[in-house]
């Protein structure tokens, strides 16, 4: 059973490794994955430690449903205190690592301390060993994985690795596995680098047992059919998340030149259909029937030949629209570079776009950039800056510390131009016409983010009755309105928290597809896999518990309502272009504050965003830290 899976405590300073069972009580409260990770982070991290010190802890967790043949169940959650924001650090990664870790006998790893020299961990059938990684230091994220497979002499070993960016402690360095998958956000690769931890490898042959295997197998087929029958999944199967561009760039919901335009003119080359020129096929993460990842080949150009996977919609914005590059090939090269170095694509693009606007405005000049002319649309400058950031060279070294530090170093009003919240860059979406999406990026516990609570289906203008059925109360069909939008964000936050805790793919729940598995289906899957019984509302409470303990962590670190704030530009500058529905829009300050008030009430938090006593009691959080494990 799932109950046989253990948590391992690994102290890199002393080399001591112990493991313990994961109590069922904790599963009832937090399920697994992000849920248990957030519990561990709140319980085990000393408040106010420097994220780059050896006192920070790194958590790796598989989802509760890891291994089921449905919904991309191979997701892994990585957490620590974030070196980007100082708040919750938490990032979710697909691919094939999590099932391998579970097959090796472990669901959670808690890594503390700091190794004296570069090391990697190897989990194998109930054991964890610390191996020397001197020979891996300096290697890129692809080479590192191959070299570990050679070391262990096993082609099936799966690894979470960092690249040179993580080694150099670039604040937003990511953790990667395979060709494609990244735990991109909040700098978890930086934390690994700070611990001299180059990789975490796993190989396992231990059975993953489920309570009702035959019924589960049949139900998984139903789940896969349910998602692959949606229009969203069908289009995604063909062109990946790039299809979002078709909607956002056509409408005018996309940041261009940092935040100057909301549509990329002459942006046809970035249309997803053009990926057909480079694609050799799609690929899927573990247990996924959607397969949204392009496998692509670049045969020409100065960076060719390249075989790579991706790019996601995020990279299309980061290295396309935001920096005003309108060539797909630019995006494909940049995507490969950040993946090789192990840099978060979104943060990298966001910072470079910001620097380009500062250069244009004369806030920085060539003296600051060591001779680089940071002109819009210049792909060579883009590639150079990516490389500089990863190696902490030149002007790249300033950007490598992320928004918080770069803003204070550059000064001169540069903060106004930074599209960031809690110190983390926002996606290249322009939320000025969409109050619900604007609220979601502010309330996200890990800094500006679209994967914490984005009600993407708001953009479909669904009938009022359908929205009422999904969200449980009246919500306006008009995505430019403010009425009911706080409820959408709150509801999505709970759903995504539970999705990350069971470890299935967010694209296979109600994110961009309306008729996708959600509470009822999750409840059934949990029952068939583990025999744990929840009602839909109990499952929502689990989501509330996870989200609230994240909030408690942030409050303890000094965050509050003032940090749930939109960049000023959202209130001051109207969208200059787009279809009539999206043109001339900005966020109304009163409307926004009212949404935020309503949102806190829905969570059971007070006016300042602190959980009320009765909320803590209802969720059992009044006893935290409880140190169950």
């Amino acid at each position: 059973m799932v109950w046989k899976r253990r948590i391992a405590y690994i102290n890199l300073t002393t080399g001591k490794i112990i493991s313990k069972p994961i109590p069922k009580q904790l599963r009832q409260l937090y399920l697994g994955g992000r849920g248990i990770n957030m519990y561990l982070l709140y319980n085990h991290l000393t408040p106010e430690v420097d994220p780059l010190s050896s006192e920070n802890i790194l958590l790796v967790g598989t989802g509760l449903l890891c291994g089921i043949p449905a919904l991309g169940s191979g997701r892994c959650d990585i957490a620590a205190k974030s070196p980007v924001t100082g708040a919750i650090g938490d990032s979710n990664i697909g691919g094939f690592f999590a099932p391998e870790l579970r097959l090796a006998g472990f669901d959670h790893l808690m890594i503390s301390g700091k190794a004296e020299k570069p090391v990697y961990l190897l989990a194998n059938d109930g054991n964890i060993e610390i191996h020397d990684a001197n020979h891996l230091w300096g290697k890129d994220t692809f080479e590192t994985q191959d070299m570990i497979r050679d070391d262990v002499k096993d082609e099936e070993v799966k690894s979470l690795v960092i690249g040179v960016a993580g080694e150099n402690m670039v604040r937003f360095a990511n953790v990667r596995t395979g060709m494609k998958n990244s735990a991109g956000r909040t700098g978890m690769g930086c934390v690994m680098g700070s611990k001299n931890l180059k990789a975490i490898a796993a190989r396992g042959t231990m059975d993953i047992e489920f309570s009702h295997p035959d019924e589960l197998l049949d139900y998984c087929k139903q789940m896969n059919d349910m998602i692959t029958e949606t229009r969203w999944a069908r289009a995604q199967s063909k062109w990946g998340t790039l299809i979002i561009y078709s909607n956002t760039n056509t409408t005018g919901l996309i940041r261009t030149r940092n935040f100057q335009l909301n549509r990329l003119e002459k942006g046809e080359d970035l249309e997803p259909e053009n990926m057909d020129r480079y694609t050799i096929g799609m690929s899927g993460c573990y247990g996924c029937s959607v397969h949204c990842r392009h496998r692509y080949v670049l045969k020409e150009g100065s960076y060719a030949p390249i075989f790579a996977e991706g790019p996601e919609y995020t990279s299309l914005g980061a290295f396309g629209t935001m920096v005003d590059c309108n060539k797909m090939e630019t995006v494909l090269v940049a995507n490969h570079l950040v993946n090789k170095y192990g840099l978060d694509t979104l943060e990298t693009g966001g910072l470079i776009a910001w620097a380009m606007e500062l250069y244009e405005k004369g806030i920085i000049d060539e003296k600051d950039t060591a001779g680089l002319k940071l002109e819009w649309g210049n792909e060579e400058i883009l590639f150079q800056l990516i490389t500089q950031i990863a190696h902490r060279e030149g002007f790249g070294n300033i950007l490598a510390d992320g928004f918080n530090t770069a803003i204070s170093k550059i000064g001169k009003g540069s903060e106004y131009y930074a599209i960031q919240i809690k110190g983390m860059s926002s996606l290249h979406s322009d939320e000025r016409p969409t109050p619900s999406l604007a609220l979601g990026i502010c309330t996200s516990t890990r800094g500006a983010d679209h994967l914490r609570g984005r009600p993407a289906i708001d953009l479909y203008g669904l009938p009022q009755e359908m929205l009422q059925e999904i969200y449980g109360a009246p919500v306006s069909s008009d995505y430019t309105a403010y009425e009911g939008k706080s409820r959408m964000v709150w509801w999505q936050e709970l759903l995504y928290a539970v999705t990350d805790a069971i470890g299935t793919c967010k694209f296979q729940t109600v994110f961009c597809a309306v008729h996708a598995p959600k509470w009822t289906e999750f409840k059934n899957l949990i029952q068939l896999a583990t025999d744990m019984k929840f009602t839909e509302s109990e499952l929502m409470d689990v989501g509330e518990r996870i989200y609230t303990i994240e909030r408690m962590f942030n409050l303890r670190e000094g965050f509050s309502r003032k940090d749930d704030a939109l960049p000023e530009r959202y209130f001051k500058e109207s969208t200059p272009t787009g279809l009539p529905i999206a043109k001339g829009k900005k966020i109304d300050r009163n409307g926004f504050e009212k949404m935020l008030d309503e949102y806190y009430v829905l969570h059971g938090w007070d006016h300042n965003g602190s959980p009320k006593k009765e909320t803590l009691e209802r969720l059992g959080l009044d006893k935290e830290p409880s140190h169950i494990v």
Partner: protein, 162 residues
């Protein structure tokens, strides 16, 4: 007519659903090392090839088995292992040129695809249709059509230039 488990590696997305479905169906657990099908991957070049017993016309496994424990199922054409006779010598595994026979490290038994008694579960779950269960003539026609596509493209171009 008997059907064949047809593999089209070009369509494989590498998701490994087939492996977990196979082990869950046969062994009642999720464990790819105990599955009868395996997706062989060259990750850094993006190549995925599902490998499974091809139920050969002249099966070496049948010939080398000292206990005559491997026999053809008349209904499906699958080569089935009679575990009452099998002594676990693993000769079948060693001689199979395709790696179609797997050793279950847990039980010590050899495992091979049994075509799920004519309803292969892996095929049902393979959304990209890299795995299909087809009769032999269909496969041949499919392959011919695919090969002929090159010529038809060429002919279209020629006609367009006329």
């Amino acid at each position: 007519m008997q059907k064949i488990l047809f593999i089209d590696p070009e369509k494989c997305s590498g998701c490994r659903l087939c492996e977990s479905v196979c082990s869950l169906h046969h062994e009642k657990v999720c464990n790819p090392t105990r599955a009868r099908i395996h997706v062989v991957k060259w990750e850094t070049s993006g190549l995925y090839v599902p490998m499974v017993c091809q139920q050969c016309e002249n099966p070496i496994c049948e010939v080398v088995c000292p206990m005559r424990a491997i026999k053809k199922d008349e209904k499906t054409g699958a080569m089935l292992i009679d575990y009452d006779l099998c002594v676990g010598c693993r000769l079948c595994m060693m001689f199979c040129p395709l790696g179609g026979i797997n050793l279950d490290a847990k039980s010590g038994k050899v495992l091979k695809c049994d075509l799920c008694n004519g309803e292969p579960r892996c095929v049902q779950y393979c959304e990209p249709q890299a795995l299909q269960y087809l009769n032999a003539t269909t496969i041949n026609l499919k392959k011919r059509r695919k090969a002929a596509e090159k010529y038809s493209e060429l002919m279209k171009k020629m006609l367009a230039t006329v």
